[in-house]
Amino acid sequence: MSSIAQKKGFGATLWDYLTTVDHKKIAVMYLIAGGLFFVIGGIEAMLIRIQLAKPDNDFVSAGLFNEIITMHGTTMIFLAAMPILFGFMNAVMPLQIGARDVAFPFLNSLGFWLFLFGGLFLNLSWFMGGAPDAGWTSYASLSLASPGHGIDFYAIGLQIAGAGTYIGGINFLVTIINMRAPGMTYMRMPLFTWTTFVASALILFAFPPLTIGLFFLILDRMFGGNFFDHTMGGNTIIWEHLFWIFGHPEVYILILPAFGIFSEIFTIFSRKRLFGYSSMVFATVLIGFLGFMVWAHHMFTVGLGPTANAIFAVATMAIAVPTGMKIFNWLLTMWGGSIKVTTPMLYALGFIPSFVAGGVTGVMQGAAPLDYQLHDSYFIVAHFHYVIVGGVVLAILAAVHLYWPLMFNQMLSERLGKWTFWFFFIGFHLTFFIQHFLGLMGMPRRVFTFRADQGWDLFNLISSVGAAFMAIGVIILVYNIIVTAVRNVPVGNDPWEDGRTLEWAIPQPVPFYNFRQTPLVRGLDPFWIEKQEGNKEGMTYAEPLSDIHMPNNSFIPFVMTVGLFIAGFGALYHGEKDWALPVLILGFAITFSSMAVRSLKDDHGFHIHKEDLMNEKGGK
């Protein structure tokens, strides 16, 4: 019965992953696919820094440079950071609340495939006539005029990937609301679950405006719409509003789970409960709420008028308050704790000053008059890399080390992990700190080169050297992963020895049905409580051993996604090639008929019988 003991051929394993609805396997797929896109986005970043390493460089052409910066931003946000975080949410959150799986395992799989195929669609643009070149924000005034199909790949690819994210958001929300183990009240939920919850709510309300904006772009470029064309009465500012109504919450969709990961790390390695738990929850919800009130601070220079600018400036600065609460709570969690400086803890320690620096420059830009000076300069580039890399990427790297034993039953090398940290951390500050000053000196963002007599040479060179350091850090991480996989030493239960929440109470390797019996949660940090009371079994359980109901695997999500992928090409070449319309219809037909099959065919799942569970226990 045990799924781990079975030896499978390559084909069977592949089929298993193509049809799986298990949140743990989907998490692994998110991690692999997101990691792949992270490397692609990283290579694009390296190309940018090579081009800007010296003045008057001709390493890449101006047009290609525009494509690279666009794809770097789009890839990193939509295809690397968010999916990797989704991977950790999938791997950890259901275990943290003691659930069997997510609420909609089928949709979980569908969400993953949509993300992957959307990302592939977007990246195929490199081989099919050129990538999008209007920046990751793709302002309509620029993107409508972009020749070729680059922008079309952007709009359709993000549409497909975005649908996957939206589905994932609903799934996590329902999981957290409906499937918590007995005793797991809202105010006992671990912070990572809380931040997943709020980030999912943001996804639910932030993605529809993006969907509409992208549809307008698709309709304008491919189907004769006139939303953004001012000669036909359209208005290009509509895109900016829709994009940022999505785009600003998106920042919090990324950073809140990062906050959650660091909250877990601080408590585990300070061996203390989180300081100010309720205020942390309050701050998370408040940040999520305020995140929707500030989108126009990206548009101060558009000319919305002093009243609008003032309101959005004040709302923007208000977000610093709950964020500050969080920083102090983390510091006070460490205060008096018995601190262990492991690799994840190193990242958490490095995160605090880095993120505070990014937050401070954010408040500076929140002051609308100053923003007129900083807008579209390298200061902005420095700022958002401080929050995204200094916050989200450090959290992702920390989580890779922290949750690796939980996901793969192996421990990454701590020695190599610390090397990764130091290379990445020093490289990060080397690259981006100096860009603040480049911005203040007047260097505009998104320029493909600069002249030698402007005094920007040395700073740009330093920035490029820093980027190389970051690349070395990532290469060490990849080496670490390979070495660990080859060594293949199982770690056993509670690998960090100080696990506090439910995910560390589960036996290793994690059975595909998760907890054999649903655990009973008796307070915040339930596993810690049991350990303090000397419970050798791991947890107290809320139910006797009984049959477990599991969902069936399904190939339909994959087919559904392939249908949309095909339809995407039909839309892309609409009005240009004769075969476009039939292909569009064919694609949608595949998708909708798979939906019908899913609806018409009963799928009751299956049961793992009590006897089998007991046998497995005896067999160990």
Partner: protein
């Protein structure tokens, strides 16, 4: 729990759509989905209001010259009635009257089709006047907002029809009750959106 177990009106639960874990999840997930749909339509409404009557210089079309309230009023009445009939269907589901539910859902589908036919007639009429999709920003925004609603009607009709056909010989179960329930929720949502379209697009267009 056996999802295909046969129930009698006496044993049938009060909220059959929320008895199983799957049903509970579907119920909540669908409400959340409708929350997202609301934002989606809000974006379309906002765009429509920004681009209302905007077009190339000298455009002859405006909301006043185009829209005729009698036709739209009939459409509104038909769709509102279809919402009522879907409520009757859910009422029969709660009372374990399978035939009654199927009948009222059938009537809902017929009313939905009537609405759709009138909408196609209306769009066709505008296009013949020269007010086609590419005519102006106004036309793009109008057809996209009202057309997206129309597309939702199509999806709802196909969905409800599939449910009626699929379960015709099976009767109620705790497996299909949540499916019926969410389909009816979806139909109500379509109706609510139309109330806003009627008000914001047509009434405010002609009178406001």
């Amino acid at each position: 729990m056996d999802l295909n177990k046969k129930y009698t009106p006496q044993t049938w639960p009060d909220h059959p759509e929320q008895v199983t874990m799957e049903g509970k999840n579907k119920f909540l997930g669908f409400w959340l989905f409708l929350g997202g749909e609301t934002v989606l339509f809000a974006s379309l409404f906002a765009t429509y209001l920004a681009l209302k009557n905007k077009g190339p210089s000298g455009m002859e079309f405006s909301t006043q010259s185009l829209f005729e309230l009698p036709l739209v009023f009939v459409m509104t009445m038909i769709l509102l009635t279809s919402s009522l009939t879907s409520v009757y269907a859910m009422y029969h589901m709660k009372n374990h009257n399978f035939k009654g539910m199927q009948l009222w859902l059938g009537i809902t589908v017929v009313l939905g089709l009537a609405f759709l036919a009138l909408e196609i007639y209306e769009f066709n009429h505008y296009v013949h006047l020269g007010f086609n999709y590419s005519q102006s920003a106004f036309s793009s925004a109008f057809f996209t907002l009202v057309g997206t609603h129309g597309l939702h009607v199509v999806v709802g009709l196909v969905w409800i029809t599939l449910l009626i056909v699929r379960n015709a010989k099976r009767g109620f179960s705790l497996y299909n009750a949540p499916k019926y329930y969410t389909a009816s929720l979806y139909w109500h949502f379509i109706d609510v959106v139309w109330v806003f379209i009627f008000t914001v697009v047509y009434l405010m267009g002609v009178v406001g």
